[in-house]
């Protein structure tokens, strides 16, 4: 387990003094904030609202010795592993999704001991980010008690001073950088999301630096028109990246469904060729394009239109 350093994260926040300025930049410039060895938290969950434009920009940079945490991790983990960027995964679950079975490249690295997997419960991940976001070093919970998860991670307990009840002390996590994809943001970094929010608000507030990509960059007036929809205020954000279809081939609530055919092709190759398939995927889908827009364009307008129609059909009327 990493050291709990919520006070250090707070001190850094106090000292950093974010400015209320235009924070728009490209994904490449924004992800250059990330250093070798950093802990990067990726927002969204599994294949929903994954900040894929930012993930791709980070993959392009071939960073080394990263730790990545996520609520539930999908095949982006395998891409980081295949390109040699990742030492450690911190999450509660790694896979592709129900129909596709186990994640073959992830298995390859973890079963050989070439990458490590800190396995927490799903709520524990949520509470780790929440404690980091709240500025406290731990939160008490009834989860993980008695399990081998707790034993493996050396999870500590805490005793309630009023009742004597023994609870798990879930330690705060303050990632170095958070990557978040949102529906809308203004140039200052006021961020709005539609539908459920996964763990994104806590992931971002816990992190020391926050990079947000958004489907649309909107005016501050458009943000103020629906202030209760705002998930993050500008002073919790360092960089704003315009990224239409920025979660593709994953889904973005209300805007486009997941591209399951894309998943199929990836998983077939990964099952057959392991890490080589992961590396090849990055070369063909990340490196081969000038930017993320090129990757999205390669999907073709018909496929994008079909995914958008699928999303619309599922929305409340």
């Amino acid at each position: 387990m990493e050291q709990v350093a919520v006070l250090a994260a707070r001190a850094e926040r106090e000292a950093a003094g974010r400015l209320a300025v235009d924070k728009r930049m490209t994904a490449e410039v924004a992800t250059a904030l990330i250093r070798d060895g950093d802990h990067v938290a990726i927002g969204g969950t599994l294949y929903s609202r994954t900040p894929m434009a930012l993930v791709f920009a980070l993959l392009r940079q071939r960073r080394r010795h990263l730790t990545v945490s996520r609520p539930l991790a999908c095949y982006e983990i395998e891409l980081f592993l295949s390109t040699g960027a990742l030492d450690r995964v911190v999450t509660s679950w790694v896979g592709i999704g129900l129909p596709w079975g186990l994640a073959p490249i992830f298995r390859h690295y973890v079963e050989r001991g070439e990458a490590s997997y800190d396995e927490w419960s799903h709520l524990a991940m949520g509470l780790r980010y929440k404690a980091g976001a709240m500025g406290v070093p731990f939160l008490p919970s009834l989860t993980m008690l008695g399990s081998d998860l707790a034993r493996t991670l050396d999870l500590q307990t805490v005793t309630c001073p009023y009742t004597g009840q023994q609870l798990a002390a879930v330690p705060a996590l303050n990632p170095d950088v958070a990557l978040i994809h949102a529906h809308r943001a203004d140039m200052f970094g006021n961020v709005q999301v539609d539908g459920y929010r996964h763990m994104d608000a806590d992931v971002a507030k816990a992190a020391r630096k926050v990079i947000v990509s958004a489907e649309r960059i909107v005016s501050p007036e458009e943000i103020a028109a629906q202030p209760a929809q705002t998930m993050l205020p500008h002073f919790a954000v360092d960089a704003v990246v315009a990224a239409p279809h920025g979660a593709y081939p994953h889904e973005c609530y209300g805007l486009y469904g997941p591209d399951l055919e894309h998943f199929d092709a990836y998983v077939s190759a990964a099952k057959e060729n392991g890490p080589a398939a992961g590396l090849r995927y990055v070369e063909e889908n990340v490196d081969a394009h000038a930017d993320f827009a090129g990757f999205v364009a390669a999907a073709g307008p018909d496929r994008l239109a079909a995914l958008a129609a699928e999303a619309r059909e599922l929305m409340p009327r």
Binding site: Y47, R107, M199, E251
Partner: protein, 275 residues
């Protein structure tokens, strides 16, 4: 006529355990199907909660979600919130039932979905807990649904991802797990529960045509056998039709004639979706 798959048999058996007006915390796949069947049959006021932050999920037949975090899971929902909040509802005691699958389950209801072999150098690195550990720690009652095979029903799980009754007796409570219970284990062969004092797994019911000996042969540990063993009703034509319509989007299956369990799909032995 079409036979009944092991999955159909388990889902429909499990659906009958869900009482009306209750709240069920369901994962995708069989738990969601079982919950949806219950809503369409004897529990129309059952509320389905999904860990993606979804309360009161409806389901579009034939478009069941693959993930609890995707739009299809949110279809028709009464409330959308965030993931952590959903689990905190569980911790407060709002969720009457939780559903879990298992790569391995032992005689005390402990579940492994993490590793086959050692955690340091696993033979198979499984996806991990997802919400499973939380569900078994926090929900009021947990139902375990899994195929009945000796490699799954093991004396001691390789790794306790999700704590059942730990080493039996009051060891669960002594570990601080003061809430929740493991209500039942539903398989393609039987319905089981846990003896109240020792907390060891106990046979309570048999799927149609199955014998106690067959269950014992498929169980890798010494199973307690209840005094009265119920014979479980086979899925009705109506239940099967509803199940298949939900899964496929239309009532494709012929539901006439006697219903017989087909051999379970061997497939991957691990639940591939997050619990």
């Amino acid at each position: 006529m079409s036979g009944v798959t092991a999955e159909e048999l388990m889902a429909i058996t499990a659906s009958r355990l869900l009482a009306d007006h209750k709240v069920v915390f369901a994962g995708v796949g069989m738990p969601l199907l079982a919950s949806a069947v219950a809503r369409r049959t004897r529990a129309p006021h059952l509320t389905i909660v999904l860990e993606g932050g979804i309360i009161g999920a409806s389901l579009l037949p034939g478009k069941l979600p693959i993930s609890t975090n995707e739009m299809r899971a949110a279809y028709g929902a009464q409330m959308l919130t965030d993931i952590t909040d959903i689990f905190l509802y569980a911790q407060r005691g709002y969720f009457d039932y939780g559903f879990l699958g298992a790569a391995q389950v032992d005689m005390y209801g402990n579940i492994n979905t993490s590793v086959i072999g050692s955690v340091e150098r696993p033979r198979v690195r499984l996806p991990g807990s997802g919400g499973a550990n939380d569900i078994i720690s926090l929900c009021n009652e947990v139902l375990i649904v899994t195929q009945h095979e000796p490699r799954r029903f093991v004396p001691r799980v390789d790794f306790i991802t999700s704590p059942g009754y730990l080493s039996g007796g009051d060891s669960r409570a002594r570990a601080g797990l003061v809430c929740g219970k493991i209500g039942a284990v539903v398989t393609d062969l039987a319905l089981l529960d846990f003896e109240p004092v020792s907390r060891r797994m106990r046979l309570r019911g048999l799927q149609a045509g199955v014998t106690v000996g067959q269950v014992r042969a498929q169980t890798g540990f010494d199973l307690l056998v209840g005094e009265e063993i119920e014979e479980l009703r086979p899925p009705s034509a109506e239940e099967l039709a509803i199940y298949r319509e939900l899964r496929d989007g239309s009532a494709t299956a012929d539901t006439e004639g006697p219903v017989v369990a087909e051999p379970a799909d061997a497939g991957d032995r691990v639940p591939a979706g997050p619990a």
